[in-house]
């Protein structure tokens, strides 16, 4: 398994942002769903080696990120798109991607080709020399995705990757995810249930720092059948039903 999380907890003060999460994921697209404040971003930041868990065990790509040398090896094989990624406005798209390719310790000789391929794959080939300050929000997001995939990562963590993308770009992005998932584990945190339905092979739903559902999109859809959960699509109804059940359980316990 590329991702093995066991009883992972992360606290910020008194708040348990991630509360005893256990997950496993191999190659494929793994969707992470949940309402705002569910703990998705904190979980992703731990998997990206930004944050250290307060407790629990985490193995990424068969290595323990708690130690320096394995952490470096994980990072070498990691792609990460944060939720609110800023940009260096004076850099061009190509420079921005090249900058992170070099920081990811890619061999300098391979960088230009990898940068060109990454930019091309997110559809920014014609804007490679454009300064980031001149790009739209959707284009910036795609530049962010390009930097995440430039090193052909084995573990790709994408936090709200389709935010700001227009429908056409989202379709293209899903195709890209399918392609990337042939050789990597892609973890996508999103609010957009239809993205999950379109590309994810597995999905987990978080609420209040806990995993309240873990299965396939079809299983999530099935949870919505016969329930009175609202939603335009079957998957959305499944999402609503699981969430409603989790909330009522929390109320009963409290």
């Amino acid at each position: 398994m590329n991702v093995e999380l066991t009883d992972l907890t992360r606290r910020f003060g008194r708040t348990r942002a991630v509360d005893g999460v256990s997950l496993q994921a191999g190659p494929g697209v793994f969707g992470l769903l949940g309402p705002n404040g569910a703990g998705k971003t904190s979980l992703l930041r731990m998997m990206a080696t930004v944050l250290r868990p307060n407790s629990g065990r985490m193995r990424l790509l068969g290595r323990d990120p708690g130690d320096y040398a394995p952490r470096r090896e994980i990072r070498r094989r990691l792609g990460y798109l944060p939720q609110n990624l800023g940009y260096y406005p004076g850099f061009t798209v190509a420079e921005f991607v090249e900058y992170f390719a070099l920081l990811k310790d890619m061999p300098p000789g391979q960088v230009p080709r990898a940068v060109a391929a990454a930019i091309e794959s997110v559809g920014l080939g014609d804007n490679a020399r454009a300064k980031l300050r001149t790009l739209s929000g959707g284009m910036l997001r795609r530049a962010g995705i390009a930097q995440a995939i430039v090193n052909s990562p084995e573990l790709l963590l994408l936090d709200e990757p389709t935010a700001g993308l227009d429908p056409e770009q989202r379709v293209a992005f899903r195709a890209l995810l399918r392609d990337l998932s042939q050789r990597a584990t892609v973890v996508v945190s999103t609010h957009l249930v239809e993205d999950v339905g379109a590309v994810c092979t597995a999905v987990a739903l978080m609420n209040s720092g806990k995993i309240v559902f873990n299965g396939t999109p079809a299983e999530l859809t099935a949870r919505g059948e016969g329930s009175d959960a609202v939603g335009d699509a079957p998957l959305e109804r499944g999402y609503g039903a699981v969430l409603a059940a989790a909330r009522s359980l929390t109320q009963v316990r409290s």
């Binding site: 398994m1 590329n2 256990s22 997950l23 496993q24 994921a25 191999g26 190659p27 494929g28 793994f30 930041r45 990206a48 080696t49 930004v50 790509l61 068969g62 320096y68 040398a69 470096r72 990072r75 070498r76 094989r77 990691l78 990460y80 798109l81 944060p82 609110n84 990624l85 800023g86 940009y87 260096y88 004076g90 850099f91 420079e95 090249e98 900058y99 992170f100 070099l102 920081l103 990811k104 310790d105 890619m106 061999p107 300098p108 391979q110 960088v111 930097q147 052909s152 084995e154 050789r183 584990t185 092979t201 597995a202 987990a204 806990k210 995993i211 309240v212 559902f213 873990n214 299965g215």
Partner: protein
């Protein structure tokens, strides 16, 4: 809750070949291309022109004088420092301000490496701009025919100061990444410069000599770079001090846990400690500094080769048939000097002890004209004479007549005095000779106050027994005056003649 996707983990790819230096250079190239430091350089250039260059143009055409204000008092550093610190802080806070810190912390290369590349680009821009502006200024001076040698050591101090400011500002930005980092770093740089200047004005010795805008210590005589090279002792100490500050700030960037691995942080700790040691060493060195007439000597750094005079071929002219030779740096003043000396040399030409030639010497401890040796030679430390003709800068200027009067007073003072304070008879004879050279009694007290080094003479007006004796001497017919002087000038000079023994 546990679940798993089914596909197996694929084997790890072949390990990449590491090429850290090349990657660093590529990062540096990118940072150099996109560094915002050039945006602020036009502002610095304007300030530099107004504050560093313009006030210097009115000074006498010697490198030491032209660069006293901008290099000696460190105005080039003052003009650069706060802006460089502010912009470096802005650049250093980039990741924090723009929300890239999370992503940057997931990179393989240590954060310290990325920071060093960004800082290096910032420092290169700042130092290059400093060198260009100073280079242009020096080029203008050279074009204007400024004499002597440029103060290269002080340029090195300036470059190091600008680099240290960039490191300090950058570290502030990295460690405190918000929008206030830049203005606060700039204000901090400005405050540091002001404190450095104010402390520097008051401190001629001790630890304060290490401050880069303290002009005391090396720029203490006009003939530096003309007769003797600039002593590098103090600049070397200041470079050690500034390099130490630079190392401390760069080292501190590598200390936080997220900056890199254990080895790298150990290296950062070592660099910080070495930097602190360098700062302490430099301060310790300047505390041992001795102020010599040719600059600050720090025994541990002093090279005897720096004491060797600069070889030159003098330029000479005749003044009342007496050869007068000057350092070629002072060649433009030769006609003023010969014209000033002509009446007084002519006056004493036939008297015992009259100099057979005049030679310029370096401005040293004496600080005034002297006549000594056998045959007697007039030694002229022109660099010490207050106010060479022309503008002296900062609103002062001297006419050729004022210069001539000062030179004549100093010459006749030297002619009638062998050593020590003047006796009343020596004062009387000097007053009489000055009157004969065209400087009336009434002007003499004020002239002596300007011309003679040390505290002004007590006499405020040309009255009293000294001037009465001078009047009596001048009342004699010219031939009688000459005869009395010929007979008694040696005794006057040795101090054995009293006012009562004068005619």
């Amino acid at each position: 809750m546990t679940a798993a996707t089914a596909a197996p983990v694929r084997p790890a790819p072949v390990r990449w070949v590491r090429s850290a230096p090349l990657s660093f250079l590529l990062l540096l190239r990118m940072e150099l291309r996109r560094n915002p430091m050039p945006l602020i350089l036009p502002l610095i250039a304007v300030l530099f022109w107004f504050d560093a260059y313009r006030p210097s143009t009115a000074t006498q055409p010697f490198w030491m004088m032209r660069t006293f204000w901008n290099m000696g008092q460190g105005h080039t550093i003052i003009d650069f420092g706060p802006f460089v610190a502010g912009m470096a802080a802005w650049i250093g806070s980039r990741d924090g301000r723009r929300g890239i810190a999370d992503l940057a912390s997931t990179m393989v290369r240590p954060r310290w490496t990325a920071h060093l590349a960004t800082w290096a680009a910032t420092a290169i821009w700042a130092a290059a701009a400093y060198l260009v502006l100073v280079g242009v200024m020096f080029g203008v001076y050279a074009f204007q025919g400024v004499h002597g040698q440029p103060p290269w050591w002080w340029v090195a101090v300036g470059v190091m100061a600008v680099t240290a400011f960039s490191a300090a500002g950058f570290a502030a930005g990295v460690l405190w990444p918000n929008r206030f980092a830049a203005p606060l770093a700039a204000f901090g740089g400005f405050l540091a410069m002001m404190l450095s200047s104010q402390t520097g004005f008051r401190s001629h010795a001790g630890w304060a000599l290490i401050l880069p805008t303290n002009s005391n210590g090396n720029y203490n005589q006009q003939d530096t770079g003309i007769f003797y090279p600039y002593l590098p002792d103090l600049p070397i100490a200041r470079i050690i001090f500034l390099a130490g500050i630079l190392a401390v700030f760069l080292g501190v960037l590598g200390l936080p846990v997220h900056a890199g691995g254990r080895r790298l942080r150990a290296a950062a700790t070592l660099i910080t400690v070495v930097g602190l040691a360098a700062v302490s060493t430099a301060v310790g060195l300047v505390r041992t500094a001795q102020l010599s007439p040719r600059g600050t000597v720090i025994a541990a750094l002093h090279d005897a080769a720096s004491d060797r005079p600069i070889a030159y071929t003098p330029v000479c002219g005749l003044s009342a048939q007496t050869p007068v030779c000057l350092n070629p740096a002072y060649g433009s003043y030769l006609s003023d000097v010969t014209a000033a000396l002509t009446p007084v040399l002519a006056e004493v030409a036939d008297l015992p002890g009259a100099p057979v030639r005049g030679t310029q010497i370096a401005d040293d401890a004496v600080g005034t004209l002297t006549i000594s040796g056998s045959p007697p030679v007039l030694a002229m430390p022109l660099g010490a004479i207050p106010y060479l003709p022309g503008s002296t800068g900062f609103g002062y200027s001297t006419t050729e007549k004022q210069f001539a009067d000062i030179l004549r007073e100093q010459f006749l003072h030297a002619f009638v005095t062998s050593a020590g304070p003047q006796t009343p008879a020596q004062q009387a004879v000097e007053a009489a000779l000055l009157q004969r050279a065209g400087i009336p009694f009434a002007d003499q007290p004020k002239l002596e106050a300007i011309a003679e080094p040390g505290p002004a003479p007590e006499k405020a007006t040309a009255t009293g027994p000294v001037y009465d004796a001078a009047q009596r001497l001048l009342a004699l017919p010219p031939t009688a005056q000459q005869a009395w002087l010929t007979a008694h000038v040696a005794d006057v000079r040795s101090g054995v003649i009293t006012l009562a023994q004068m005619p």
